[in-house]
């Protein structure tokens, strides 16, 4: 069957057709090409207007028509791109082609209109489909931009929160330092039993506040990725005994039996951050006591495995308390979350302890595993792998440890000369109260500049330097004193940075400025005296 199309029908079905003669010159074009390519007029050679992409090479049109091969041509100028078939015609060849759009960005410039496509041509639908895709890509980009902005905002807010926490730590620790320090000094005076009980209440409340503050600061460090860990030898069993000592008293107070089983290898010396290990164990035991109303709490310490110098350590805490179900287990390591809301109301607490403990365990390369049956108690296990410590050097280190300055000053026949650099009158008073009767002579400077001016060769045995002060801060004053020592070849005076800034970055800043030791506020008689001894010992060791 032969179907013949008149010109109107041909234009309707193939608006972009081209008819060429045997010499490959254009005889006529469809209305679409006529509009878009005025240069493609009768008499012009096809190759003067189009690049013939298919078939490639020399074209034998007669053979090509017989083969029914596809045709692909591209305008030499402008974005016109056509593909179709070549069909025989009389007196020439008929190229039945359709517009191809391969680049949505260039669509507008192409000048193509819907009427350039026949209704039978699905190219238009493909173009619209590509438009939908382009729209989705544009939307995805917009979404990614929004997400990136939201992420940046969240990070900025998190950093602002960390900075806020650091600042608040200073603001809270300064008055807390005053309360705890003064009360500590008060406790060392003659008191009636009733007064002693009241003082003890203040001490306990202060310690609770300090612990809460430390938890919040620890959390901010974890979130900021600034959790610095010490690495020093310590005796595992001694550390655990230390950690549970106070807890045993609390268990006694609640009428709970308390057991500590130092299993095989527990007496090993290991290298790690003893403070953080004790903090985690103390937290686990504290929780066990908190959630146990009757029965017992047992702690076992064991070295489960040894691989070379690495010891696989397990500290397990078992209790006969309320336990928890699988759902509570999912939530218990989340920050600010406890088993359920009623737990907070019944037992109190911030809900930070386990989250911090888990973060600390992970930071130390370990983990906390938990199991429980509701109503039948819980089992928490801190698993850590720690390197075996050098026992000999540690014992040697202990025997080389800082002597009490009282021995030294009595041998020297004079008091220990302290330069206290502190802007806050209450804090000045706290230090004086604590060190009263300890064989010291305290000179006070109210800011860093005063300290730098007061500092003279061999004028002080130690400087207690506050970090944040008006006029000149402790970091700058320390740097100036160190510079002067270097210029004048003076023996370095021991400097302890005395500050409420408990963040690791502040400790590092103090060290970088030239401080020998960092004593964190709030001060207690023990922490101040030990801090001074540690500072003196640090300088002696270096010397």
């Amino acid at each position: 069957m032969v179907v013949r199309l008149d010109e109107a029908q041909l234009n309707l079905i193939f608006p972009a057709h081209i008819r060429i003669g045997p010499d490959l010159s254009i005889l006529s074009v469809g209305p679409s090409l006529h509009r878009l390519m005025p240069g493609a007029r009768p008499g012009v050679r096809l190759s003067d207007q189009f690049l013939i992409e298919r078939p490639r090479g020399a074209v034998d049109f007669a053979a090509w028509v017989r083969a029914r091969a596809p045709l692909q041509i591209r305008a030499l100028t402008g974005p016109i791109f056509l593909r179709g078939l070549v069909l025989a015609d009389e007196p020439g060849f008929l190229l039945c082609v359709s517009h191809v759009v391969s680049d949505m960005a260039g669509l507008e410039a192409s000048g193509l209109r819907m009427t350039d496509f026949s209704e039978a041509d699905s190219s238009l639908s493909a173009i619209l489909s590509a438009g939908v895709q382009a729209s989705m890509i544009a939307e995805s980009r917009e979404l990614m931009r929004d997400l990136a902005t939201a992420r940046d905002d969240a990070l900025a807010a998190s950093q602002a929160k960390s900075a806020f926490l650091a600042n608040m730590s200073h603001e809270i620790r300064t008055p807390l330092n005053g309360v705890v320090g003064v009360v500590g000094a008060l406790a060392r005076t003659d008191l009636t039993p009733a007064q002693r009980e009241m003082v003890q209440l203040v001490v306990t409340s202060g310690q609770t506040l300090e612990r809460l503050l430390s938890d919040i600061l620890d959390l901010s460090k974890v979130e900021a990725g600034q959790l610095g860990l010490e690495s020093a030898p310590f005796c595992l069993s001694s550390a655990i005994e230390d950690a549970v000592r106070l807890m045993r008293v609390r268990a006694d107070d609640k009428g709970l039996a308390f057991g500590l089983d130092l299993g095989p290898g527990a007496g090993a010396w290991v290298i790690g951050d003893v403070v953080r290990v004790k903090q985690v164990v103390s937290n686990l035991v504290s929780n066990a006591i908190k959630f146990t109303t009757e029965g017992r709490v047992d702690v076992t310490v064991s070295v489960r495995n040894t691989r070379g110098d690495d010891l696989e350590i397990a500290v397990e805490v078992r209790d006969t308390g309320i336990g928890f179900d699988a759902e509570a287990r999912e939530r218990m390591f989340q920050r600010f979350a406890q088993g359920d809301g009623s737990i907070t109301r019944r037992f109190g607490g911030t809900g930070l302890g386990l989250a911090i403990s888990q973060a600390l365990a992970e930071a130390m390369g370990g983990e906390i595993r938990v199991s429980s049956v509701p109503g039948s108690g819980s089992h928490f296990a801190l698993n850590l792998t720690l390197r075996r410590g050098d026992l000999e050097s540690e014992i040697q280190g202990q025997s080389d440890g800082a002597p009490s300055w009282l021995d030294e000053v009595s041998a020297a026949g004079r008091a220990l000369r302290i330069l206290l650099v502190e802007d806050h009158p209450i804090n000045q008073q706290v230090v004086r109260l604590i060190l009263e009767g300890q064989g010291v002579e305290i000179t006070t400077a109210n800011d860093g500049l005063e300290a730098v001016n007061l500092f003279q060769p061999d004028s002080f045995d130690i400087i207690l330097m506050d970090m944040q002060m008006p006029v000149m801060d402790g970091l700058k004053a320390t740097r100036l004193i160190r510079e002067r020592e270097q210029v004048e070849a003076l023996a370095p005076v021991p400097i302890a940075m005395l500050t409420a800034n408990a963040m690791e970055e502040h400790r590092q800043a103090a060290q970088a400025a030239g401080a020998d030791f960092h004593i964190s506020k709030p001060l207690t008689p023990e922490s101040l005296i030990m801090g001074i001894e540690a500072t003196l010992a640090a300088v002696q060791r270096v010397g």
Binding site: M104, L107, E108, L112, R113, M114, T115, E119, L124, S125, I127, L128, S129, G131, V132, A134, S135, M136, A138, E139
Partner: protein, 179 residues
């Protein structure tokens, strides 16, 4: 309807009253961010809830809100990545209206889940176009009027659009160009 409608509504509200107004509308409509993906189809009820909230918060009748939205739709589509496709539809109001149904038919091929309306040019005069509108949705005549008014603006024409009344299975609209 598809999410592009929701995005257009969001743009319109934000340009009129900022994020604060939009937040109130989101709250009232109960729509979430995942209901604003252009190429996804959402239940009509969701779209009507959104338009209802827009009307309530912008102190408009539902008809007024639909009319404003129709006009804004043209501006929004032209400013979007669909702009080249709008250009393809025609260089003047007459050509555009002639291709309106083809555009919607092609959209239906790209987004088969979307129920798109049909437009048919019944008659064109020197300064008027009669168009038949057929949709499975009822009550959107004010939106269609706004849409044609938006097209008049788009092609820098002034004129009047009226809803003539039912015709065949649909509704007839008349665009009269002035000046």
């Amino acid at each position: 309807m598809y999410g592009m409608i929701h995005r257009a509504a969001r743009d319109m509200v934000r340009s009129a009253g900022g994020d604060e107004l939009w937040d109130r509308i989101l709250l009232q409509s109960g729509l979430k961010d995942d209901e604003f993906v252009s190429a996804l189809a959402y239940p009509d009820e969701t779209t009507f809830r959104l338009i209802g909230a827009v009307a309530a918060e912008m102190n408009l009748s539902l008809e007024e809100a639909l009319g404003q939205f129709g006009r804004y739709w043209i501006t929004f589509a032209h400013a979007s990545s669909y702009s080249p496709l709008m250009k393809m539809a025609g260089d003047d109001l007459f050509g555009f209206c002639e291709n309106l149904d083809r555009m919607h038919a092609s959209i239906k091929i790209s987004l088969p889940d979307v129920d798109v309306p049909s437009f048919r040019v019944i008659e064109t005069g020197d300064a008027s176009i009669r168009i038949g509108y057929l949709s499975s949705r009822a009550g959107l005549e004010p939106f269609v009027i706004g849409l044609f008014e938006g097209l008049l603006d788009h092609f820098n024409q002034t004129g009047e659009v009226t809803c003539v009344g039912p015709i065949d299975q649909g509704i007839e609209f008349l665009i009269q160009i002035k000046g």
